[in-house]
Symmetry: C2
Subunit: 341 residues, 2 copies
């Protein structure tokens, strides 16, 4: 015989299924004596209600979902993700809500995954890596699946939204570099499809006023290296490079060094995301910490509220901080910009 069911407990306690159910949910008064018998029987049989059956009956999965559109490869080398998940789990664990993860590489697969979530796998989803006019927003609306969008999204009336001000620290960073006398400041962005890439890039453009030294990368070490090479090969090379994440920054820094440039004297370098190792590099890497853990926690928390029926709301977190470190010469002399030999 398989796992004990509520029926087994009921007959062991000499009552019906309904009584057992009520005894545990407390939705109906149950006499102390009966309740004690039921609890004892459940204990004895080692019974725990099947979350599946419960979910079917109550239309509540007690789980929230995340569908990852990212390539597993990128996922593997991303500092944001594990910290974010940790935050989500921190919010979920005390409530015994599970997290369902599914990756999908094609749009069709993504749709299937979201449909599966809607059909009972999850009560709501957290949506990451928003695009400018993201198809998932209307899609999820139609599906009627509660969702929390991470990052800025213009028309977020139907869904809650957890935002951060990514632009401010970038402006602050560029201003800092300008104040140090840098005139040729480059930016290696992420894919412009992403809202967050675009926000960072436009903060950069707002300050520098030109996209001459703007290059589009894809967050991998590879493009960090290649685009750095491209920038350093310019007739008048930049004296500072701001990267859209730490992985690209570190790859770029490492490449610049291999060409004999000193950091930060010959080239100032800054990243974004503040990987936990960045402070330990030499030179330590200037970056922007974004507290992904907190964002995960807040997003999950809000999603649970949305699921319980509260109206969606937009939360703006103040959790981006510029971390000035040696790679931008924060604590050294202003650099002497030179052009290529």
């Amino acid at each position: 015989m398989g796992r004990p069911t509520i029926g087994d407990v009921a007959s062991a306690a000499g009552v019906t299924k309904a009584t057992v159910s009520h005894a545990f949910s407390g939705k109906r008064p149950i006499s102390p004596a009966t309740k004690a018998r039921i609890v004892a029987a459940a204990e004895e049989l080692n019974w725990v209600p099947s979350s599946l059956a419960r979910a079917l009956a109550t239309r509540r999965a007690n789980a929230i979902g995340i569908v990852l559109a990212r390539d597993p490869e990128i996922l593997a080398s991303d500092a944001f993700f594990p910290a974010f998940i940790a935050g989500v789990e921190a919010a979920l664990a005390p409530r015994e809500v599970a997290l369902v993860l599914q990756v999908a590489s094609t749009r069709a697969g993504e749709e299937r995954a979201y449909r599966a979530m809607a059909q009972g796998r999850a009560d709501g989803v957290v949506v990451l890596d928003l695009h400018a006019a993201d198809w998932r927003v209307p899609f999820l609306e139609e599906l009627g699946l509660p969702a929390v969008l991470l990052g800025a999204y213009e028309d977020a009336s139907t869904f809650s939204c957890v935002r951060t001000d990514d632009a401010a620290p970038v402006r602050e960073l560029v201003d800092h570099l300008l104040a140090q006398g840098h005139t040729r400041i480059a930016h290696v962005s992420g894919p412009m499809g992403y809202v967050h890439s675009r926000v960072r890039a436009s903060a950069y453009l707002e300050r520098t006023g030109s996209d001459e030294l703007l290059r589009q990368g894809d967050f991998t070490a590879r493009t960090g290296r290649d685009l750095t090479a491209e920038l350093l090969d310019l007739p008048e090379r930049p004296t500072a490079i701001v990267y859209a994440n730490d992985t690209m920054a570190i790859a770029g820094l490492s490449y610049a060094r291999s060409r004999g440039l000193r950091i930060p004297e010959d080239l100032a370098v800054a990243g974004f995301d503040d990987d936990h190792l960045s402070a330990h590099l030499s030179p330590p890497l200037t970056s922007v910490s974004t507290d992904p853990r907190r964002r995960g926690e807040v997003a999950a928390e809000q999603l649970l509220l949305d699921i319980s029926g509260r109206p969606p709301r937009s939360i703006t977190l103040d959790c981006t901080r510029l971390r000035l470190r040696d790679s931008t010469g924060a604590s050294t002399e202003p650099p002497h910009p030179r052009s290529n030999a």
Copy 2:
């Protein structure tokens, strides 16, 4: 009205639920004409079977679970985890199996989580971070939940097991250091409760023959730093330190530098796990790559086999590789020029 059900499709197509079910599962022959009507109706109504109801009826969740005993904080700064998950997902995605994640900080919470998995959340679990005599093994046996154990486990008759040889690259590394003339080689291990920590430490002991310079850390940057301080304060300090992971190694390296030691001239340093940034540090960090992605893929693959009824088996992967880099003074990669040389 909510999502369409199989009943809606059935009446739309003028048949019964059973016929619809058979049309899709193919378990009974259905005439082409009827099948076409059913498919059309399903298409029309945008119906997709509820995974919940299906799971209840078939006792198959179509999901596998991972219960993380780690503190969310450690999870956040761990290079192993995201890559492992990526591998698991790579195996799961094409089969439309979901991954259910749950963290639990207490033993009771862990047990609850595994019970919940067994009751329908998941068809099997992957068990990480094995301890020497892990309570989870008999527990899961009793629960009757298929499982794949990651890492060495002596008595793995009932469960499949995915192993790697962590000892070989450590031996190789220590031999390399000995060959370079180092005589005082230290080791900062992980918590000795973990099988993998113990394996690495005993490979170290096997070669050095003494535990005088062995210190037990906990994989965090903090203990990496503190234990390095302790080792460097010894009257006769070590000339090389082997850390059980890269995070501790980088923290240690950084600390040693702050005390004015040159790496690798004054102190050779090596890590374990080969964080994706380690090759980009300066000096690049010698480490051991362990291919967590592949391990995740193989573990998930095997778990699916176990679930489908195949007998458990033990797989040993050959995927640990020593990556010699500048931090131990002998590099297969081109060195970076020293600044201000």
